[in-house]
Amino acid sequence: MDFNDTPEEAKFRSEVREWLSANARQRDTSNAKAGVSTKSEAERLVRAKEWQAKKAEAGYAAITWPTEYGGLGGTSIQSVIYSQEEANYDVPRGFFEIGLGMCIPTMMKWATPEQNERFVKPALFGEEVWCQLFSEPAAGSDVAGLRTKCERDGDDWIINGQKVWTSGAHFCDYGIIVTRSDPTVPKHKGLTFFFLDMKTPGIEIRPIKQISGGSGFNEVFFNDVRVPDSQRLGDVGEGWKVSLTTLMNERLAIGGGSGVDYEELLKLARETELEEGPAIKDSNVREKLADWYVQSQGLKYTKFRTLTALSKGQVPGAESSIGKIVSGPKMQDLGSFAMDIQGQGGILQDGDESPMGAAFQNQWLGAAGYRIAGGTDEILRNIVSEQVLGLPQDIRVDKNVPFNELASSGKK
């Protein structure tokens, strides 16, 4: 039992290290997690595209993809090793994960060879950014309940409706979308899937302001948006099957929780005075600190167990499914508790006055969204209980009912 690389892994790691040190700047660890980039999104996107091109040129942008798509034809463990090493460098992140993690894998499975020839490489090299258009105001966890409709018109389809929570839609070039082609059949059977140019006339993108103040998401409106039938992925009515390809990649694409953790809480507890003395001497503070330390370590070593399976060329066990169930509430509770330690001053969300640039306040606000994005805490528990423990699915009252006869808000 050890954490050592195999000789092949060690060789790959040293190649990666050499390449990174020649091409990127080491992260400043003295100002690790609290640091927030002051650059505008547009500036960061330019930098991200440059970095992505460099990475793709070296083969590290898609390590597990086959070489004909510009990948390295490597293993999952190599991909993990690259990420581990890249984490030590100050490189732009957060623009290509959805496109390369979810959209392009869906294209690779369902689009024609000519289409993949056209789209995969520009996405990989960061020239074109992709988004995913699934969720709707009335279709969140129950995404198959979506209402955006598509109607055939000669060689084209006309799309009308609204999508929501679309990350990055405002800077994306292309998107994948699932729509309802037939409302007279049960919900999973009447869906059809397309990819489209986000500049197509009739698409209107409006940012959503989150409670944290940021606007990473958008509402996307479709008014008579014309999409050629050649951009359909999968058969008419088979859109759910195509969606599953995307959704299976979602859990891989949604990263683990980052942000302030027990280390920052320890620092805060040492530096903050409570009525009876330093917070670190308070037994309640110590118990909470220990609980979150143990959860963090538990997640870290759970990941190591998964990596062990990958390293041995085995399929990882179900243990990796626990990550977001633990990290979401932990981020929220830890942020909240750290604010409690700050007493009345805890309400300040002030980069100068609040400890660590208001990192705890920011995390407390942001974590409320993290517990919902990419599968709510509740949906993830359903997944664990059904897919890991083998418990029965919920009884689905909508399973065999035509979509247009289902009960919904405002129509019972």
Partner: protein, 374 residues
């Protein structure tokens, strides 16, 4: 990355599991619950005969000469069936304390008998409902004689030798030492006590000028005690992981078998989410226990931190799984005839056996403070 047990260790685990599935069903555990027996003798003898007791004891002292990792996989299986045997007292505590702190003579005297199971050993620290810390220990050891009262002592009625935490007159943490006592002598009287988990025997022991000898150096008993506890915390964490998995499976099986309102109760989200939470806590506990095992086997410098993490995580997982297992069963789960009680009892016993979670959380943060000096 090789963060897993070896194939040989997994084979050993299978061997332990097969033996225990055959010889240590809940019906077998129940025979101890419903009798005055301190443990299940047939199961204990079987474990000794198969060499599990001697697994981590060096060959020169009559053991098999394997290591901590082998002990961990056996511990998980003992925990899974809530085995009513003195394994933890005799091996994780007594034998490990002798291995770590014992003189050559002490090792030669006691380890071969503990390895073969010819005798049972234990460690006696608690003196009633209070923390057995240097300032609270009233039992004294002076001029080779031990005086005082220990309660509760695991397997105290059947053990032949005990490692005892006693005051030796120093100050602060130097006030206590560990001593080795032959429990079969005249100066020792003992009687069994009632506990929340009658499947594991406990006793009150009185020492009246009993002959004893120092284990390690006088005044360094607390440091040695903490080192022994850290190792035991990892091993007990594996018992807790095994117990958690058993309680989860018991609850899951019942939820698939039981119908209410025309459906399996396992199809309701209230039950599904409860079982998912058990699984999440189990996996966190398993991962922390694995790290504890690795550090223990490598005798790593951060054993105290790794052991505290393993213990806190596994204690929480077993607490939750055992209590919610009864809840999933409903009324039947609360009856004497049903089996959930075995894990409910054992989870609390193990949660307290090395001191409460609060105590270990405090120990953990003290380590964090040391490793993170600003």
């Amino acid at each position: 990355m090789n963060f897993d047990f070896s194939d040989d260790q997994k084979m050993l685990k299978d061997q332990a599991r097969k033996f225990l599935e055959d010889k240590c069903s809940y019906d077998d555990v129940r025979t101890v619950l419903e009798s005055d027996a301190s443990h299940h003798d047939e199961v204990w003898q079987g474990l000794c005969d198969l060499g599990f007791t001697g697994a981590a004891i060096p060959e020169q002292y009559g053991g098999v000469g394997l290591g901590a990792l082998e002990l961990c996989v056996v511990a998980e299986e003992l925990g899974r069936c809530a085995a009513p045997v003195p394994f933890s007292s005799s091996i994780y505590m007594a034998a490990e304390a002798l291995k770590i702190g014992g003189s050559e003579t002490l090792k030669q005297t006691w380890l071969p008998k503990l390895a073969s199971g010819e005798i049972i050993g234990t460690l006696a620290a608690a003196e009633g409902p209070a923390a057995p810390s240097p300032r609270n220990i009233k039992t004294t050891f002076a001029n080779g004689k031990l005086n005082g009262r220990k309660l509760p002592v695991p397997d105290g009625e059947t053990a032949s030798v005990a490692i005892v935490l006693a005051n030796t007159g120093g100050t602060g943490e130097q006030a206590v030492s560990l001593v080795v006592v032959d429990l079969t002598q005249d100066g020792v009287t003992r009687s069994s006590v009632e506990t929340i988990d009658p499947t594991r025997g406990h006793a009150e022991i009185n020492f009246d000028n009993a002959d004893a000898s120092l284990l390690g150096v006088s005044g360094e008993g607390w440091a040695l005690m903490k080192r022994v506890e850290a190792g035991a915390a990892v091993l007990v964490a594996f018992e807790q992981v095994g117990g958690t998995e058993a309680a989860l499976n018991m609850a899951k099986d019942y939820s698939l078998d039981r119908y209410a309102f025309g459906r399996q109760i396992g199809s309701y989200q209230a039950i599904k989410h409860k079982l998912a939470d058990m699984y999440v806590k189990l996996e966190l506990a398993r991962s922390n226990a694995y790290y504890g095992a690795m550090v223990l086997a490598q005798e790593g410098a951060d054993l105290e931190l790794a052991a505290a993490s393993a213990r806190i995580s596994a204690t929480e997982a077993y607490r939750f799984a055992a209590q919610e297992c009864i809840q999933v069963h409903g009324g039947i789960g609360f009856t004497w005839e049903a089996n959930p009680q075995f894990h409910y009892r054992r989870s609390k016993l193990l949660a307290l056996s090395l001191g409460s979670a609060s105590r270990w959380k405090n120990r953990l943060v003290s380590e964090l403070e040391k490793s993170n000096v600003a």
